[in-house]
């Protein structure tokens, strides 16, 4: 499957407090969380973003709190995937467990500009910037994580194992 959208760029160490500030952690509604997505760095982000848009960021994306509200808020805002130089581990784990597509691609921040139209082939990991014609490759997804994506997240994985 291919994900395609317009790029929003962020720097290094984007923490979960800025992805979804703590005062909004009084709900588990993805759409409502999405309305405050990235509010800590860009108060108007949720208004500007369109369904399918892609976030490109630097190193250590999603550092800090384990709040699963962070990947939920990104999904709720319509973000189709996050491509980063690197992810903090709890965020990485949460994204696969709950079904937000993420890709690690060192060098991506240099090669892609905000507003570029970008597509990601989820099977091959090929990232194409259709605005400047550049191509990138995402790091391969470990087999177990691939399995999680295919079955639709950790809960589906657990339940399918229980049935067998």
């Amino acid at each position: 499957m291919t994900l395609e959208g317009r790029v929003w760029k962020f720097g290094d160490n984007i923490d979960t407090d800025v992805i979804i500030p703590a005062p909004y952690l009084v709900t588990t509604d993805m759409v409502e969380l999405g309305k405050h997505c990235m509010e800590g760095v860009d108060a108007l982000f949720a208004e500007k973003v369109s369904p399918g848009d892609i976030i490109v960021a630097g190193t250590n994306f999603g550092c800090g709190s384990s709040r699963e509200h962070a990947p939920m808020a990104l999904k709720g805002a319509g973000i189709s995937c996050v491509i980063a130089e690197g992810f903090a581990r709890i965020f990485f784990r949460n994204a696969f467990n709950m079904g937000l597509a993420i890709f690690e691609s060192p060098g991506i921040v240099q090669g892609i500009q905000e507003g570029d139209q970008v597509s990601v082939d989820q099977d091959t990991g090929e990232i194409i910037d259709h605005t400047n014609g550049k191509r990138f490759l995402a790091n391969p997804i470990p087999p177990f994580m691939q399995e999680l994506i295919e079955v639709g997240g950790l809960m589906s994985h657990v339940m399918s194992k229980r049935r067998t």
Partner: protein
């Protein structure tokens, strides 16, 4: 094959002789934890699975500590969901107001996490329990939902980094300063995916409170876990609390590490982490003039009785600056009562500070001391990200309890030596 303490604990819980870094394994867990922010998502997922019972009602801890005492109606609804779930599935360790404390201070205090355990918590500071010689790590709500069904969790076995601390700590230098100094050295992603193993004669001399402060902030270097091998100090703390058997592990002398870092810490000063990352550390003498509006002493990092004693020793017979608000948060009811018995609360109130009931509130800008636009706080908590304690233009400076108390008196960030 020589193994680190982390590898030994994970192997034992995976039913294996040995495990190697990079391997993906399924491990049995001894405790799964969630709070009033993260439990509601896990509860929703659990109920949707239509499984009829949890794997073990004694191995789940639900601690409503973040927005409790309920700060608003929606927080109340989240705690109601926890309460209902706890009753329905007979969860033994649900902590109602009055017994509730900050989770990472409460669970060790109650003897619910022990050496050799594997603990997962839907809270990033779950790594605190590594100070007891357990493998403990933060996960998400979905992991907790899955673990409540299976009693297991999946992990990539982490490589370990060994940190060796030598020397003698200066008068106002604590576990908080050691971990801030370390994060300042390796950076906020310096230990990503790895286990930080703290060793050396300085660690041996550290109290359990100081050790828990260090392990608590391993996540601020991106680590999966922080760990300290159990010794006599650990066992003195654990023995009166443990209600089940446990096992103490230690790394083999020839175990493999991704990196070994040795620090002589005799000359380090109390550390202050400037906004907006915990790695932006400076020694107290290099801070310059930073006026503050608020000082917070508490949290899972520094809300233990030892921390309050240090703060009280600085605040005794003094009053805080008239432009500063001082908020002190004993982390658990036991810490609160002990502070009361020792006369510490009297010292705090006489200095014109306030004493809050146990809560995480101010640390994450939830309630009980939210910062307004442009306000500055010195805090004994663990994060100084943009907007962490309030408005996005507010600032948080991380420090130890002695520095936070001295700063409240001085009206600017400073050392107890200046008083």
């Amino acid at each position: 094959m020589p193994q680190t303490i982390t590898e030994k604990i994970l192997a034992a819980h995976a039913g294996r002789e040995t495990v190697a870094p990079g391997e993906l394994i399924n491990v049995r867990i001894d405790m799964a934890l969630a709070n009033d922010i993260t439990a509601p998502i896990a509860i929703d997922l659990f109920e949707k699975s239509r499984v009829e019972s949890v794997f073990d009602p004694e191995k789940i801890a639900l601690v409503p500590d973040h927005f409790v005492p309920n700060k608003d109606i929606r927080s109340a609804v989240q705690v109601q969901a926890m309460r209902t779930f706890a009753r329905k599935y007979h969860i033994k360790h649900f902590f109602e107001l009055g017994e509730m404390g900050i989770e990472h201070v409460l669970l060790p205090e109650k003897g619910l996490v022990l050496p050799g355990d594997v603990v997962i918590g839907a809270d990033s500071h779950t790594c605190t329990y590594g100070a007891l010689g357990s493998f403990a790590t933060g996960v998400g709500s979905t992991d907790i939902a899955a673990a409540m069904i299976t009693g297991e969790a999946w992990f990539r076995v982490p490589e370990s980094i060994k940190f060796i601390y030598h020397g003698r700590l200066g008068k106002w230098v604590s576990g908080k300063d050691l971990i801030l100094y370390t994060i300042g050295d390796i950076g906020v992603d310096g230990a990503t995916y790895r286990a930080m193993e703290f060793t050396g004669d300085v660690i041996k001399d550290l109290t359990m409170a100081g050790r828990m402060t260090m392990a608590n902030m391993a996540i601020e270097a991106g680590a999966k876990s922080g760990i300290i091998a159990p010794d006599e100090v650990t066992l003195d703390y654990i023995k009166p609390r443990a209600k089940r058997s446990f096992e103490s592990y230690a790394s083999d002398p020839d175990a493999a590490y991704a990196d070994v870092r040795t620090y002589d810490v005799s000359n380090i000063e109390p550390q202050v982490a400037f906004p907006f990352l915990p790695e932006n550390t400076r020694g107290i003498s290099a801070v310059g003039t930073v006026p503050i509006d608020q000082a917070v002493i508490g949290s899972c990092t520094n809300g233990r009785i030892e921390d309050l004693r240090v703060a009280a020793s600085v605040l005794k017979d003094r009053a805080i600056d008239k432009n500063v608000r001082l908020i002190i948060v004993p982390a658990t009811p036991a810490v609160y009562r002990q502070a009361m018995a020792e006369g510490l609360l009297e010292i705090f109130l006489a200095a014109k500070g306030i004493v809050s009931p146990p809560t995480c509130g101010p640390c994450l800008g939830g309630f009980m001391g939210v910062l307004g636009p442009g306000e500055r706080a010195v805090s004994t908590t663990n994060r100084n990200f943009v907007g962490r304690m309030g408005h996005t233009t507010s600032e948080v400076y991380l420090a130890n309890p002695a520095v936070a108390a001295a700063s409240a008196i001085l009206g600017r960030i400073g050392s107890p030596e200046e008083l």
